[in-house]
């Protein structure tokens, strides 16, 4: 079943003479566990789409269903609850709290939720260790590289165990190498930990990590492509190297 489906989803900003159509009749279905990249030129509506799917903003027209439940007409308190339980956000700027350690930052969503700090830290530590930050638990953001800070932010997005991760330009503020690490990590989040990940990027290199790329232009889906996960004979090469080694 699709975890997300949108139906003629449209968003118009402003009113009167100064309206901007950010999204126009988007029909998108995303299967559970899929890693989707959303691409397109600046201003084509990528962030708007992510905000609508994440319930951060309301559509002008059309509908969004998360796990079959429409969120368009949902009362605010219910929507907030759904966001907290089911959706994790990652942004270009990591938005970590400077005076808090990595583990405190990553645990924040669940400590705010009233879970006992010891339990919250345990959960946060689990994700930080998976992201190879086990030895940086008590580092503060200014003691971490951009790539490491973003990994803390991804741990924070996952700490409440959401099924859906929405990432807006998660590699936009780090170097190429950290970008690769973060994209690879988001793919692991999808494949190894079975979460649905939707990631906005305009970097082809980063989009190539996904299972599927959706191309937006002027607020519409203009195309999409599925990427096969075949493994390109790397094992065969390894075997040959062994064979030759005299």
């Amino acid at each position: 079943m699709s975890i997300i489906s949108t139906e003629n989803l449209s968003k118009v900003y402003g009113s009167g003479a100064t309206t901007v159509t950010a999204l126009e009749k988007i029909n998108l279905k995303v299967n559970s566990g899929q890693f989707v990249a959303v691409m397109g030129p600046s201003g084509c509506g990528k962030s708007t789409l992510l905000h609508l799917i994440g319930g951060l903003d309301k559509p002008t027209e059309g509908d969004i269903k998360i796990e079959g439940v429409s969120i368009t007409q949902m009362p605010d308190d219910q929507l907030t609850e759904l966001r907290r339980r089911k959706i994790g956000f990652v942004f270009q700027f990591f938005n970590l709290i400077p005076v808090m350690t990595a583990v405190e930052n990553a645990a924040l969503p669940v400590t705010l939720d009233g879970i006992k700090p010891a339990d919250a830290y345990k959960r946060a530590t689990k994700w930080l260790e998976r992201f190879e930050l086990g030895d940086r638990l008590s580092s503060r953001p200014d003691q971490l590289s951009g790539g490491q800070q973003q990994r803390v932010a991804i741990a924070r997005a996952l700490v409440a165990d959401p099924t859906l991760i929405l990432a807006d330009e998660p590699t936009g503020n780090v170097d190429t190498r950290s970008g690769d690490e973060i994209a690879g990590l988001l793919r692991d989040v999808s494949k190894q930990y079975d979460r649905t990940v939707i990631m906005v990027t305009h970097d082809p290199r980063i989009a190539a990590y996904a299972d599927r790329i959706v191309f937006l232009k002027d607020g519409k889906v203009v195309d999409e492509t599925l990427l096969d996960r075949k493994n390109h004979g790397a094992a065969a090469v390894t075997r040959m190297i062994k064979e030759i080694g005299d």
Binding site: D180, P204, A208, T225, G233, I244
Partner: protein, 204 residues
């Protein structure tokens, strides 16, 4: 030609037989899927190199007589040629672009929608980029850095091609508004100085 020089280099490293040369070349280029050289090409090249006096049979190793078991070593002349090759720069093949030709043919024949062509190519390149990214991750940086670097190059090329497609897409209307390239055909006769172009009917 590169395979010839690579064979010289692999023989400068140590004497090898044909079968082993093929396998060694394959490993250097990161596998047959990157650059496949058929055994027959190796043996023909070895014959030519032998004729030119750049390699010779290392008969003392006596591994047998069929082409795949004959052991070769490099000669002094071979080392000179190898040295020359190693000392000069290389121009990669960046002007011969099949997609570009396909797009041009689509425009002149009107037989395919250029926008669709671009999108098909984009999907194709994304699949390649996806595969290259995955393949890169299977290598161990502690022992296979050379392979990683080769894939880094492939990845950067693919990124550049994808960006180039975006650029074509934004300028395609301009291309279509301009006259499509046509060769200059002149009446039969001697070419005038400094002039290039084709003749019709073609000279025999």
């Amino acid at each position: 030609m590169t395979v010839r020089h690579a064979i010289l280099g692999l023989l400068a490293q140590k004497p090898r037989h044909g079968y082993e040369l093929r396998a060694a070349f394959s490993v250097v280029v990161g596998g047959d899927m990157n650059w496949e050289v058929k055994p027959a090409q190796i043996y023909t090249t070895l014959d030519r190199l032998e004729e030119a006096g750049l390699v010779e049979l290392a008969s003392d190793l006596g591994e047998g007589d069929e082409p795949s078991r004959r052991v070769y070593k490099i000669t002094t002349e071979g080392r000179v040629i190898l040295d020359e090759w190693l000392s000069c720069g290389v121009t990669p093949e960046y002007m011969r672009d099949e997609f570009f030709v396909k797009l041009m043919i689509a425009l002149v024949t009107d037989m395919a929608d250029p926008w669709r062509l671009i999108q098909t190519q984009r999907s194709h390149l994304y699949q390649d980029l996806h595969d290259a990214t995955r393949q890169r991750e299977t290598y161990d940086p502690r022992t296979e850095m050379a392979q990683i670097l080769l894939l880094d190059k492939a990845i950067m090329y693919l990124e550049a091609d994808l960006r180039w497609l975006d650029m074509i897409e934004t300028r395609l209307d301009e291309v279509r508004d301009q006259p499509l390239p046509e060769p200059e055909i002149r009446k039969r006769g001697r070419p005038r100085k400094g002039q290039t172009g084709s003749e019709y009917p073609p000279p025999d």
